[in-house]
Amino acid sequence: MKDESEPVTPDELVVRLVWAFHFKSGAREPVQREAFEPKGHETDGVSVFRAACLADPEQALGAVAAEKRDGYAVVLLPVADLAALGLTVQPAKIDTVPGHAVLPELNITDWKADKPRWRVVQKELARIASARVVRPPVGVG
């Protein structure tokens, strides 16, 4: 396991938590592009977790309230694939779970300013994540 202080390397994977509404079980590509839409408060970029800093990817669910965890799918994205889309992974330490990071380019301000560009990126992220589902949502609480 890597320490959070170690730099992010291209061979790493990041974990993204995908809410059940944005995951269609049984679909050829179950992750929807909404899973990569910045929220209003995400001025620094959307959240991910460095898998190398976690005991297992599902540890990322510790960042969410317990009653909501079953509502999330856990998916992986290669850092190298993110880089190919012009996205970097910037560590952003939080208290609850190690390895928290953000994708600073995919922030609410830039997303609103150029929705067509980011629509293409989001769909590609959804395609990449759809091929690496660690676990689907268990149920929506």
């Binding site: 509404f21 909404e34 929220k39 408060h41 969410v64 309230a65």
Partner: protein, 128 residues
């Protein structure tokens, strides 16, 4: 009443290719209605629920699309910033999306591989 969707978009929606995994208009309407029960932070990470007026507007848009003979979408989901999103996925990576972001505004996207993404903003005017 919503302005018509751009002709390029309608040509794909009403084209010969059916959308992948279309859910049926009855299911789409039911899904939109379910969004009325959502509250802010429905995902525990700050997602904003669609406002009732936005949901009403999405329902009105759906009504117009069914009258125009458009096939039902592949997905109907709430966006994380208060929108109601409809999307149609076709073969070959082609997709159409209509995101009702406000009671009187929707973002429309047409993605065709190898082409610049198309983006329009359509509006709804109050009935006179």
């Amino acid at each position: 009443m919503w302005a018509p969707l751009p002709p390029e978009v309608m040509s794909h929606l009403n084209g010969p290719a059916a959308p992948d995994g279309a859910i049926g208009w009855e299911a789409a309407v039911a899904k939109i209605d379910e969004f009325r029960a959502l509250a802010d932070d429905y995902d525990g990470q700050g997602a904003r629920a669609p406002a009732p007026e936005t949901i009403d507007a999405a329902a009105e848009l759906v009504h117009g699309l069914t009258r125009a003979g458009v096939p039902s979408p592949t997905w109907v989901t709430p966006g994380v910033n208060g929108s109601v999103d409809l999307s149609w996925e076709f073969g070959g990576g082609v997709s159409v999306a209509v995101d009702v972001t406000e009671p009187d505004e929707a973002d429309v996207f047409l993605l065709v591989p190898g082409r610049q993404p198309g983006h329009w903003v359509v509006t709804q005017t109050a009935a006179v």
